[in-house]
């Protein structure tokens, strides 16, 4: 007997027309649901997210079907991904059946669903169905029984979980009923290829044939209605993420990570800067709220949230959604609270982990721009002072600008004003220029360059703050003023390459200054030293040590520089014990986003939390690559009582000690 099945068995081809009508109606409801959301999204400003079309499509297909972002977090992610793939297979299988019945058979007169293919088809679908039920059960237990911290239960969870369970189970029941009446008796060998159906079929073996047929019909319709219900529910429940999250994989930005819109300061027709209400956001920002799956991954990684500050990136996205829907003229900063907006360190942990490609950081920055540029607000008086200091003296400490180059006295280094024929321009930054602890790092970097025969120039007193902290606090005006002065100055010298020891300067000069017209290669000293080592320009005598390493946000997550520093430290003789959170999952030191010039008044100290993670590794040494991190860790070690167990040192210090003379 041929391995196949009769489609529309027991239902008759009479169901085709009502079935399609109802199906189209359901799709109509789905489309209508989203159509109704259009005006909500359209409250936002225009933004082109349809460029790079082909690449966007490719990215969407790979992200949606590959589920890599979802899978990155195993807790919850594994269940979701396997469920997704299983459900996808079921969906595709059902589609194939539909095509067979209403296209291949009547039009092409072929039967794909037969023979060996049919056996495989049956088996795969049944396994997918079983997996889907198991994964759904897993998700159910996670949501209602084990309930990881921060996971909420909302109305949608009941609807969606029940609906999916019902669809899967009724699917097996129809199959079981059909098989009880057909395969189980006529072709038991084939039945083995439908293990789920085989099992479900056992429920029906005692029924009389008449009852069985009626039961099957009822189940069929029930299953069908549930599926229609599923489609109808998509726009009105969490299920919308199937489309919106997928769409976001298409809509995600193509600019370099960390790009912020550069405001055109010449345009004096603009009267609103930054985001005050919903209409100041882009449509994509509003759409993001619909794409959020409430997976809370962002929240549990947020250094502000986890140290009890009033910021949750997830909640922030939801609040935007709520305002867009209910009160579009309401004030964002009042709804979200200024404290929350100022608490962000722009560490990008949220955005990096978000499976839905939601852009948290720039939303926060735009709200800060509104507070700063439109209201002259600051997170605290200390910030106001620091900002004034940058304005006047080009550094947040308010120290005399003329003293900026003093640290370099007596070193083999040229000040560009006097001699600009150098291999690299070292952009020192405020901390390494003025802060004693960080000056040591600058000196060590010079030692390294000297050993490698690299001629280094600095701008000395001509250099100014790169503007990063104020930009991240929303003060685009001051940022552009200081940046413009730096750029103009750098351009007057024939600079071939810029190296920084500060990841914040690095990001700003390498990426942000491009928008303002600086186009010179910029490198962070970690990759620069790594290249020197690889080219044997610099050689180290390894000396063993145990350490743990902190990936600063602006080097790791923003610039993907994760391996090179580790490889340098390995050459130097280090053996690493990684912290729980490292690489792309690293945990901020607390200084990003301009927080370096602000006091951490709320919650507990982020730096202490990070120091705790470092001491937990048991390594006696924490290696950092950023003056801000260094400052925070020196502080966190003191206040966190870790002085006896942990020291923090910069990578440059480790390298400089081991140079082969």
């Amino acid at each position: 007997m041929e391995a196949t099945r009769q489609i529309y068995w027991n239902m008759g081809h009479g169901v085709v027309i009502p079935m399609y009508i109802l199906a189209f109606a359901a799709f109509g409801v789905l489309a209508w649901g989203f159509w109704q959301r259009l005006p909500i999204w359209r409250q936002g400003k225009a933004l082109d997210r349809f460029d790079h079309y082909d690449e966007r499509v490719k990215r969407m297909i790979s992200e949606v079907f590959g589920q890599a972002k979802v899978f990155r977090v195993t807790e919850g992610g594994v269940f979701h991904s396997i469920f997704f793939w299983s459900f996808l297979i079921l969906f595709a299988g059902t589609m194939l059946v539909m095509f067979q019945a209403d296209f291949f058979t009547p039009v092409l007169k072929v039967n794909l669903l037969s023979g060996e293919f049919y056996k495989a088809f049956s088996l795969v679908l049944d396994i997918a169905g079983i997996l889907a039920i198991v994964m759904l059960a897993g998700l159910f237990i996670r949501r209602f029984v084990t309930r990881p911290d921060g996971l909420e239960i909302v109305r949608d969870d009941y609807i969606v979980l029940q609906l999916l369970f019902a669809i899967l189970i009724t699917g097996f029941l129809i199959e079981g009923a059909r098989m009880a009446a057909t395969e189980l008796q006529q072709n038991p060998a084939l039945a083995r290829f439908s293990p789920g159906g085989l099992l479900a079929g056992q429920l029906f073996t005692t029924l009389t044939p008449g009852t069985l047929l009626v039961t099957h019909k009822i189940l069929w319709w029930l299953h069908f209605v549930l599926v229609l219900g599923f489609f109808c529910a998509v726009p009105y429940t969490k299920l919308r993420h199937i489309l919106t999250t997928s769409a976001n994989a298409f809509l995600a930005p193509f600019e370099a990570k960390g790009s912020i819109a550069t405001i055109n300061m010449e345009d004096d027709t603009v009267e609103q800067f930054g985001t005050a209400t919903i209409s100041d956001l882009s449509w994509k920002d509003i759409f993001d709220a619909d794409a959020c799956t409430s997976c809370k991954r962002c929240q549990e990684r947020c250094p502000a949230y986890t140290t009890d500050k009033p910021l949750s990136p997830m909640k922030l996205i939801k609040q935007i959604g709520e305002l867009a829907e209910g009160n579009p003229t309401g004030s964002l900063s009042e709804t979200i609270s200024q404290d929350a907006i100022w608490a962000c360190t722009t560490c990008r942990a949220c955005q990096d982990i978000c499976p839905a490609n939601i852009e948290h950081v720039n939303k926060i920055l735009e709200m800060r721009r509104n507070l700063t540029l439109m209201e002259g607000a600051f997170p605290g008086d200390e910030v106001k002072t620091a900002v004034n200091n940058i304005e006047v003296n080009g550094n947040p400490f308010g120290l005399a600008f003329a003293a900026r180059g003093d640290w370099a006295e007596g070193l083999q280094i040229s000040v560009m004003e006097q001699d600009s024929d150098v291999d690299i321009l070292y952009f020192v930054g405020c901390y390494a220029s003025f802060d004693k602890r960080n000056q040591a790092i600058a000196r060590n970097f010079i030692t390294i360059c000297n050993a490698a025969g690299v001629k280094v120039g600095i701008l000395g007193k001509e250099e100014k703050c790169c503007g990063e902290p104020v930009r991240k606090l929303g003060n685009e005006y001051l940022y552009q003023m200081t940046a413009a002065e730096n750029i103009e100055l750098i351009k007057t010298y024939n600079v071939r390459k810029i190296v920084t020891t500060c990841p914040h300067c690095f990001n700003t000069l390498a990426r942000d200054y491009k928008d303002l017209g600086l186009d010179i290669p910029v490198e962070h000293y970690t990759t620069y030293i790594n290249t020197l080592l690889e080219n044997n320009k610099l050689n180290l005598t390894p000396e063993t040590f145990r350490y743990t390493y902190h990936d600063s946000c602006y080097l790791g997550r923003y610039m993907d520089i994760i391996e090179q520093p580790r490889s340098i430290l390995t050459r130097a003789g280090g053996s690493i014990t990684e912290m729980d959170k490292s690489g792309y999952d690293s945990f901020c030191c607390s200084a990003g986003g301009g927080r370096i010039i602000a006091e951490e008044k709320l919650g507990s100290k982020i730096s202490e939390a990070r120091i705790k993670m470092a001491t937990d590794t048991g390594a006696p040494l924490l290696v950092s690559n950023c003056p801000f991190c260094m400052t925070m860790f020196e502080d966190g070690i003191k206040t966190g009582g870790a002085e006896d167990v942990l020291r923090v040192r910069d990578l440059a210090e480790i390298v400089a000690e081991r140079i082969v003379a």
């Binding site: 004096d268 006047v392 003296n393 003329a402």
Partner: protein, 258 residues
């Protein structure tokens, strides 16, 4: 109502000061300039009054000095002044307070300002004379070092800061001049739209020669660093000895112990 606020641009006090070629004032090399702190309070208070009174009120900011002072003027305009007078004087630093006051008084003479705001003193010269002298030259009421200000139908109620945190409450009839002290208010940070608007506001330039007809009454003979106070002494040794030494230093170098 017509308001005037007088501001000075001063070097940031973190700067290192060196005498200039004349040896009577500082050299401007390597100095960063900003608005005199006390004048910021004056501008803020004037702007608040201007906002309170609405468009029936006009607020002018005035500054004497070389072209660099336009930066400070722009900041005052961005904070909310309506227009500005830049009295151009490349040698402003060589003028004594009497001449500066005479210049301002000559400017203000026929303009009918109801209230003039100034800082209580400049951070660099610190003579605390200009405001009061302007008032005397114009023959208007004046009070100094205010930390509280209210104005109601031609009467100003001001709180003066006295030693030890006590305050003296004073009422003055306009026209009047007040000099402003730390604690009066918290100066605003100009918003970007206001910075943009300020770019279009009028700054009238007046050569100082048009206004100043007075000779200096006091002259600076020299500008120099203080005799070393103690300059980085390191004291080590027996505690009792150390205490003696420190007491001696306190008596000698500070006004704290006598």
């Amino acid at each position: 109502m017509k308001l005037l606020v007088c501001i000075k641009q001063v070097p940031d006090l973190e700067s290192r000061f060196k005498p200039d070629a004349t040896g009577t004032w500082f050299s401007e090399t390597d100095l960063a300039f900003r608005m005199n702190e006390y004048d910021e309070y004056a501008v803020e208070q004037a702007v608040r009054l201007r906002e309170q009174l609405g468009d029936s009120c006009e607020l002018t900011v005035l500054s004497i000095g070389p072209d660099r002072v336009v930066e400070a003027i722009k900041k005052a305009l961005a904070m909310g002044c309506d227009n500005a007078a830049h009295i151009q004087d490349n040698a402003a630093s060589s003028k004594d307070p009497w001449q500066i006051a005479a210049t301002i008084a000559a400017y203000a003479k026929d303009k009918g300002f109801d209230i003039i705001f100034t800082g209580m003193q400049s951070q660099d010269r610190g003579s605390a004379q200009v405001g009061v002298t302007v008032a005397e030259l114009l023959g208007i009421a004046c009070t100094t070092t205010i930390v509280g200000f209210a104005c109601d139908s031609g009467t100003i109620t001001a709180k003066r800061e006295l030693e030890g945190g006590i305050k003296g409450v004073v009422k003055l009839k306009t026209p009047a001049l007040v000099t402003c002290q730390l604690g009066l208010n918290v100066p605003r940070y100009p918003t970007l739209p206001n910075i943009m608007k300020a770019k279009k506001k009028e700054i009238i330039a007046i050569p100082v020669g048009d206004l100043l007809k007075e000779e200096a009454l006091a002259i600076t003979a020299s500008f120099h660093p203080p005799a070393k106070k103690g300059g980085g002494i390191v004291l080590e040794g027996d505690v009792a000895d150390l205490v003696e030494k420190v007491i001696a230093i306190l008596k000698d170098k500070t006004a704290v112990l006598r």
